[in-house]
Symmetry: C2
Subunit: 468 residues, 2 copies
Amino acid sequence: MSAFLDNLRAIVGTANVLDGPADMAPFLRDWRGRYTGRALAVLRPGTVEEVAALVRACVAAGVPVVPQGGNTGLVLGSVPDGQGNAVVLSLARLNRVRAIDPVNRTMTVDAGCILQNVQAAAAAAGCLFPLSLASEGTCTIGGNLSSNAGGTGVLRYGNARELCLGLEVVTAAGDLWSGLTGLRKDNTGYDLRDLFIGAEGTLGIITGAVLKLYPAPKASITALAALRSPAQALQLLSLVQDRAGSSLTGFELMSAYCLALVARHFPALPRPFAATHPQYVLLELSSSESEAHAVGLLESAVGAALEGGIIDDAVVATSEAQSRGLWQVREHISMAQAAEGKNIKHDISLPVSRIADYIASTEPRLQEAFPGCRLVCFGHLGDGNLHFNVAPPSGIDNEAFLVNQEKVNRVVHDAVAAFGGSISAEHGIGALKREELARYKSPVELALMRAIKRALDPHNLMNPGKIL
Amino acid sequence: MSAFLDNLRAIVGTANVLDGPADMAPFLRDWRGRYTGRALAVLRPGTVEEVAALVRACVAAGVPVVPQGGNTGLVLGSVPDGQGNAVVLSLARLNRVRAIDPVNRTMTVDAGCILQNVQAAAAAAGCLFPLSLASEGTCTIGGNLSSNAGGTGVLRYGNARELCLGLEVVTAAGDLWSGLTGLRKDNTGYDLRDLFIGAEGTLGIITGAVLKLYPAPKASITALAALRSPAQALQLLSLVQDRAGSSLTGFELMSAYCLALVARHFPALPRPFAATHPQYVLLELSSSESEAHAVGLLESAVGAALEGGIIDDAVVATSEAQSRGLWQVREHISMAQAAEGKNIKHDISLPVSRIADYIASTEPRLQEAFPGCRLVCFGHLGDGNLHFNVAPPSGIDNEAFLVNQEKVNRVVHDAVAAFGGSISAEHGIGALKREELARYKSPVELALMRAIKRALDPHNLMNPGKIL
């Protein structure tokens, strides 16, 4: 093993092979702090060629490789297991923006670029890179692509997959596939790009990407609507989509309990309504024309919804500054939740049309199984994506309630399967949801996935134990 | 072999196993009439289960299967080769719209639905299915997905791939994969959907799909702009994208020679300009608000382009009826070309920013090799997709000029490769471009594609000889 590590040092230099426990610790611990794995070493290549050479050395030695970006994943996809026989390959030093082409509206980046830096580089070129998530100050674009990250912009711009035109990948054999095309149309064979995207590093290592850029909207304006039920939220969604089309860039559902948590833990934040309402929707319209155009379109849509009895009350921002204030309520839900104590989290998606029925049918089942439990239900309603989190009844300790995780999962995920939904909308599978995946996927689909894994990673050395 | 055909008759009934030469003829001849293959029989299953049973019977007998939709492909992807040992499996009888969900904005269809019927069913539900191509009255959605069809709507809505949320596929083993989810977010394992999309039937047979629908725009308004060069067309594109964002739904480049061909062969069509200009752009804006909004936005963008000296003249439609008239010029180019006689066709794409340089550098090379040859250059400039067709010099017979196909391909495709483009933007590879693919793809990419083919179709029975 010492000869193996010497080989790696010869490739990337001694300083970039970490094997001391303190040096390795941040690479072995998962983002939520629930798990710490073990590894032979952490490798920090500085070039794509070094990534390829490291993979070849690992294949020759039969050593598993765990690729890692910002290590902000929520499903134990980027940390090694406890065996200690793998290396972690960090892409963090591959962090250059290689090129920006404002006419083609593309940007070529190293996989290790931090998402916020990608956004900033796009903005500096007068463009928008619309992927946006809570961890954007730490996560990397390579990790975003490997996990097909979602976030708040999906309704208008799609997931990470839809924002990528080309990839550069080091295969499981240590070959370099240069697929960095910036083409909108290219029908020359199998879609390798989309196979590596979302594969969580189990088929190869993404080292670079060509990203899609968009014209930056002139303004984005937000409203907060108060409603009686998720069913009304769906009516509102249809109404706004018909009137505003692709100008609708955000549509977030939040229950009264979510806003109550925010109010309790962040009392300084504005409270937009005097009364309490059962549900709220934060909606955002963006205009390529002007702030006035966005405000006018939003006011007219909200007016029609009030008139039609779809919503009970609303606050419409009249400037981008006011809009940012309204977003704060939505953005503080996760932190308010954390301040309240741990709960049992789910990242589910459903056909948009079935969300109201899903909530109406699943909440009573949870109440029956866990009387008094409290649902922290919010999410990207426009995409059918709910964060459907279950907190203990009042007076029950949060940590103690976690023993119910498996039983709660069964209620929530069985209902997801019955409604034609997904048990992982945007977080992926990793090691955490591997058993859930095996439970809910059909044998035919699992067999197809395993055949692909065997074909592209015959020695099962790329992030083993993740997904499959 | 007669026992084999009896097996097939037992599955789908005698009437749905065609083996007479006259019955089989339309299924064996390609759309452009350049090639006729041979087959044991043409199979016409009426259910998905029959498709699976037929595939299992073919696998047991070692008989290749050529899936076929509307048979409108342009690259010999849906007809069998000349060996006569394969069956053609027509999806034409699987032609039901299974379900429409206007709130989820999805539609579940059989693979054999004709594209125009899919569009009409969406429209009847108050929605838009934006895929649109010349052959839409004949082609099927299964074929569109298998070839990842493009067309004029790609700029705003993407290729067929981007319009599909879920698939149902009969695998090469004759198993049924039911992946008919209508989810916008689903990160549960490898992206099988996008692997079957664009695989031209070489990995399995698409039998059904969940398609994305969009709110129908209130109006689409068109302008025709006259310019000096493709470089100015790119400036116009950037200007309109910055002002109109996703309201820009069409951006088509046409050279003076294209419009001259239309004027010669369709003299009854309107001629929008008195003078001749080197290039023209047809641009379309769509509004979710109103016709007046679309007209205003387009007039203001065209006005800015005139003022900035980017365009020399323009006609802006003031109604949808006028807009349809302007589209006719663009739509008649292919027919005018056909009336003029055969030419050497290319379906290429490039990074949008490189198109002007590509044309400027490639046209002189063609002139050098084939003095006096005439370029019929038009296409979806907004997507970087050009139909870059080479017609003989004046006085040279069109048929006789076709002997130069290989040499012309080399000039055009070598330049495509040098500019980072694709030799097949929207038509696919089929049997026609298989050798071109092998010439221009990297060995690493070809090896990955072959590994996937072997993994999913180990007996090489699914549309053999296509793509790889």
